[in-house]
């Protein structure tokens, strides 16, 4: 077996940009700085942490979807060897507070208390009832078995429409299961529907999904009892928000709390939350004065970590006979589960701004009803509200095309915003800054051979081939880069949408970039190094990125909503600009020139007209550190901060095309070709962007074909482990053809747009549209997701899908 010297390992794949000197970093497919540790196992996952005196916490969870707690007896658990403590909800009631929801979407929204451990009543299978603390994870698991709980069963309510009858109340004190109703309207939909030649109405189901980040959740809390300080290590996407929320929930002074997200193994929204176990571990560490660790098992996490999606969408579209869209009406029911987690109510509301998608119309009406059920709470899952909306609109566009007898791509072209209409104010009130749907679509159709595949489809239909071909389209856009703080304010969100960056110029000329983003797979260390290297003219290798520790990177709004680059990366760029301006002042002083006469290029300051009078930025850094000879009144530092509050959302877009072969005898669908052309504006690192698209596609395709969280009528999660919940493997997914068009964003100085969620948002309707397209000659106009072979086969037999 050959072994390769580590020094020979390449640092870059073939470059895409024209840059003969090799000095421009932005646009280069730099290999990741993150990888060396990760491919050799030198990792720092939360569960790796072992500390002297550390004890393990385990949570006893309700086996019932809905019940009164009559008695919790932890005495037998306490009597077991190696057990330090055991607490019921009642034991902690005075100090555990209520888990936060930061997004009260309406003034009259029902926000029931959400105790980390249930005290009187459990409301979903997996609701925490008691905790034990023992010397190791095995002893803790044993002790859980010894806790006795008496329940008085109450009826479960798992179906949203049934829940809306209020016959069974999830929260008696709320008086209703309707958490909120959130309406939006622009134009008079009913009036345009009256003028329409055709009105198409459909009900689509967005099934419930389980995010399944590969790293299960965990938390470690180390207390310093004498000074009442706590360090919280958590598998979180949001160390900064978590610190604030833990302070507010537990009453711990904020300055005494330090939150660290060490290596975090994926999130996809599931770690964008403040969880019961984070609060409980803090309370237990405070009581015991010992480091406490909790790590979920996967099956436990399937109950106790948030789920995603879960909507019933009633959608109506009105159009003229030539295909001109007149209006769109959307009535949503969103299953919130049993409690509100951090942004639960806001997720479906984000869809309000996306159902209209890239299309022009005269009237738009949106209503969302948030509904409590006795199930695991839902919250943000990759795309959060926007995949659901994109699915609904891209599916109904295909249905409208079928009704009109038009090619679905022609229908889209007739109605989309054309490239010369940007900036464009949409019917939902957003201003799309830039886009070119024509260019992305033309490229995708060529890569896909759209016309050729349509011809083949026709032939197969005519020959009654047992394998039928379907072609699915998704011409999507999305809003991301969360978000302008003022807009979040108008949506009643509890915080802003800015991001912070600090640049530390070290005396040796090396650079520390401190970012408020919290990467967990996205490659920020590499991409931020590229941004800083260009802005400061320093080598890529000389930049270190510091993140995800509230003491080292004290200000941040963290990573979610495809915001990190368009807010946090831009903040890095702008903070570097402030460093350069400070350095220019020092350079001018040292070069005895006027500041206005000093140019900066490639890391060197030089005097206009006399290039021999020059100083590299590294030398300026050392001179500033020494402070011996600085301009009068100047602070001896080049370090600079920038807090970026974006002026607008980011609107990536693209055209995805999917060809599915369906064996009509077995119902088995095979993705034969998948083409994704995405426009994410300027690209910092094309390799990382492509990776984000691949992963997004996999998750979106998984919703279309494989995944569903299923509950039985009693509220049991029957897909409660990886055995039953079908996360696709390499064997289940196709090779993707990806490409890009590049229409720079005009809302930030780098011209960049978000990319993290695009693939997930676009792909689900592309796949389902392809399946329905294959089956439409058989009179089928929908297949419920996931479109399993069985569901397709049943549809083909004329039954319900």
């Amino acid at each position: 077996m050959s072994e390769i010297d580590a020094g020979m390992i390449a640092t870059e794949v073939a470059s895409e940009v024209s840059d003969p000197d090799g000095r421009i970093e932005i646009g280069r497919a730099r290999l990741r700085k993150e990888d060396a540790r990760l491919v050799t196992g030198q990792t720092n996952w939360t569960d790796n942490i072992q500390l002297p005196g550390m004890v393990h916490m385990a949570v006893l969870r309700s086996p019932m979807a809905h019940a009164k707690i009559l008695r919790v007896d932890v005495s037998a658990a306490l009597a077991r060897p190696g057990v330090f403590a055991a607490y019921s909800g009642a034991d902690l009631a005075a100090e555990q507070g209520s888990l936060p929801c930061a997004w009260p979407v309406t003034a009259d929204m029902k926000q029931p208390p959400h105790p980390p451990l249930a005290v009187d009543e459990v409301r979903y299978v997996g609701d925490g009832v008691a905790v034990v603390v023992a010397r190791d994870r095995y002893a803790a698991a044993d002790a859980l078995e010894a806790i006795e709980v008496d329940y008085e069963p109450l009826p479960a309510v798992v179906d949203m429409e049934e829940a809306l009858t209020d016959k069974v109340l999830v929260h008696t004190d709320a008086g209703t299961n309707r958490c909120f109703t959130w309406p939006f309207a622009n134009g008079d939909y009913d009036a345009v529907a009256k003028q329409a030649d055709v009105v198409v109405k459909r009900r689509f189901i967005q099934q419930r999904l389980i995010p399944t980040a590969m790293e299960p959740r965990g938390v470690v809390v180390t207390p310093l009892p004498a000074s009442e300080e706590y360090t919280v290590y958590s598998t979180t996407q949001i160390p900064h928000i978590l610190r604030l929320m833990l302070a507010m929930v537990t009453g711990t002074p904020e300055q005494k709390l330090r939150v660290i997200a060490p290596d975090v193994g994926g999130g996809f929204g599931s770690k964008l939350n403040v969880y019961a176990e984070e609060v409980l571990a803090l309370l237990v560490a405070r009581r015991l004065g010992r480091p406490v660790k909790w790590t979920e098992s996967r099956s436990e996490g399937y109950q106790a970590t948030i789920h995603g999606r879960d909507q019933i969408q009633d959608i109506e579209v009105a159009a003229k006979s030539d295909g001109t869209l007149l209006g769109l009406k959307v009535e949503l029911m969103a299953d919130l589960g049993a409690y509100l987690q951090l942004v639960t109510p806001g997720v479906p509301i984000l869809g309000a701004f996306m159902f209209n998608a890239i299309y022009k119309m005269q009237a738009y009406s949106f209503t969302c009803h948030g509904v409590f059920t006795t199930k695991t709470p839902t919250d943000a899952y990759r795309g959060a509200g926007r995949p659901e909306a994109t699915f609904g609109v891209e599916r109904i566009m295909d249905e409208l095309a079928a009704e009109l007898g038009m090619d679905p791509m022609e229908l889209r072209k007739k109605n989309w915003i054309s490239h010369d209409e940007f900036p464009y104010e949409t019917i939902a009130g957003l201003t799309y800054d830039s886009g070119n749907y024509e260019a992305a679509t033309a490229k995708a159709m060529e890569l896909f051979d759209y016309d050729g595949l349509r011809r083949e489809q026709q032939q197969r239909r005519e020959s009654n081939d047992p394998v039928q071909l379907g072609i699915g389209i998704s011409t999507f856009t999305e809003m991301c880069g969360l978000a302008p703080s003022r807009v979040l304010g108008t949506l009643s969100y509890g915080a802003g949408g800015w991001e912070a960056a600090s640049i530390r110029m070290l005396p040796t000329g090396k650079v520390e970039v401190v970012t408020g983003t919290a990467p967990h797979g996205q490659g920020h260390v590499t991409a931020w190094s590229q941004i800083a290297a260009d802005a400061l003219g320093v080598p890529f290798e000389d930049v270190e990125v510091v993140h995800s520790d509230t003491r080292a990177a004290p200000q941040g709004m963290d990573t979610y909503g495809s915001r990190s680059l368009v807010v946090g990366g831009v903040a890095v760029h702008l903070a570097c600009g402030k460093v350069v301006e400070k350095a220019r002042r020092v350079a001018a002083h040292l070069l005895e020139a006027a500041e206005g006469d000093v140019d900066f290029a490639g890391g060197t300051f030089s005097v206009k007209g006399s290039p021999e009078a020059s100083l590299p930025i590294q030398q300026i850094a050392l001179a500033t550190f020494a402070g011996h000879n600085l301009p009068d009144g100047m602070e001896p530092t080049l370090n600079s901060d920038y807090v970026m509050d974006p002026e607008n959302f980011s609107f990536p877009h693209g055209t995805h095309l999917c060809a599915v072969d369906i064996d009509t005898e077995t119902g088995f669908p095979t993705i034969r070709k998948y083409v994704a052309v995405d426009d994410v504006g300027k690209v910092i690192n094309p390799m990382i962007v492509e990776g984000q698209v691949h992963g997004g596609l996999a998750q979106g395709i998984a919703q279309a074909l494989y995944e569903e969280a299923v509950y039985d009528a009693e509220g049991n999660l029957t897909t409660g482990s990886m055995v039953d919940y079908y996360v696709p493997s390499a064997a289940d997914l196709p090779h993707f053809t990806t490409d890009r068009t590049e229409t720079p964003a005009t809302s930030n100085p780098l011209g960049v747009k978000g990319v993290g969620e695009a693939g997930t948002i676009a792909s689900t309707p592309a796949v389902v549209n392809a399946i329905v397209d294959a089956l439409r000659p058989r009179g089928i106009n929908d297949v419920r997701m996931p479109c399993s072979p069985e569901r397709i086969w049943r549809a083909l037999q004329g039954g319900t899908s």
């Binding site: 077996m1 050959s2 072994e3 390769i4 580590a6 390992i9 390449a10 794949v13 290999l31 990741r32 993150e34 990888d35 060396a36 540790r37 990760l38 491919v39 050799t40 196992g41 030198q42 990792t43 996952w45 569960d47 790796n48 072992q50 190791d136 994870r137 095995y138 399944t212 980040a213 590969m214 790293e215 299960p216 290596d263 975090v264 193994g265 994926g266 996809f268 996967r298 099956s299 967990h520 797979g521 390799m687 492509e690 990776g691 691949h694 992963g695 596609l697 996999a698 998750q699 482990s721 990886m722 055995v723 996360v727 493997s729 390499a730 064997a731 997914l733 090779h735 993707f736 693939g759």
Partner: protein
């Protein structure tokens, strides 16, 4: 308690363990070999894959006592000696083909790929996809993982020619 003896990443250990202790917990909690992570509790995800006497196994599905007398290699023992020792071609290919994002599945994915290439030194794309069916990744969509394994196969083939 049962006495076991095994070699892990080149170091021999002699320990008393509970018979129910899983190999992965022995590696992580007793030996501090935390490079091997745990991703599930049903043997589906493969994150904990290690090499046991020349075969890839999911270390969550093996009891430590079953491994008595065996040689275990984890991701931390795959590269050459020392923390910056020479990488295995599969490790190198994962880096060069951007076959990892969060990196949580990566140790198991690499160990499974090494085993796959031992059994089938010249796999097709389909062979790789099916050969890695027992290892789940949530970040990459697998495309770059497949390409990395094919690249490593080509490199290993060149090295043995």
């Amino acid at each position: 308690m049962t006495r076991i003896r095994m070699t892990v990443d080149g170091v021999s250990y002699d320990d008393d363990v509970e018979p129910r202790l899983l190999l992965v917990h022995y590696l992580r909690d007793r030996l501090g070999r935390t490079g091997t992570p745990i991703g599930c509790d049903t043997s589906n995800c493969g994150a904990c894959t290690v090499d046991l006497d020349g075969k890839a196994v999911k270390s969550c599905s093996v009891l430590a006592v079953q491994v008595d007398g065996s040689v275990v290699t984890t991701i931390q023992g795959l590269a050459g000696d020392g923390p910056s020792g020479a990488w295995h071609p599969v490790q190198k290919a994962f880096h060069e083909k951007h076959a990892l994002q969060c990196g949580y599945c990566t140790p198991g994915m690499i160990m499974a790929a090494v085993d796959l290439l031992r059994d089938n030194p010249a796999p097709t794309e389909r062979d790789v996809r099916e050969g890695l069916e027992g290892n789940l990744c949530r970040c990459t969509g697998y495309q770059n993982i497949v390409e990395a394994v094919l690249q490593a196969a080509a490199e290993l083939k060149g090295a043995t020619r």
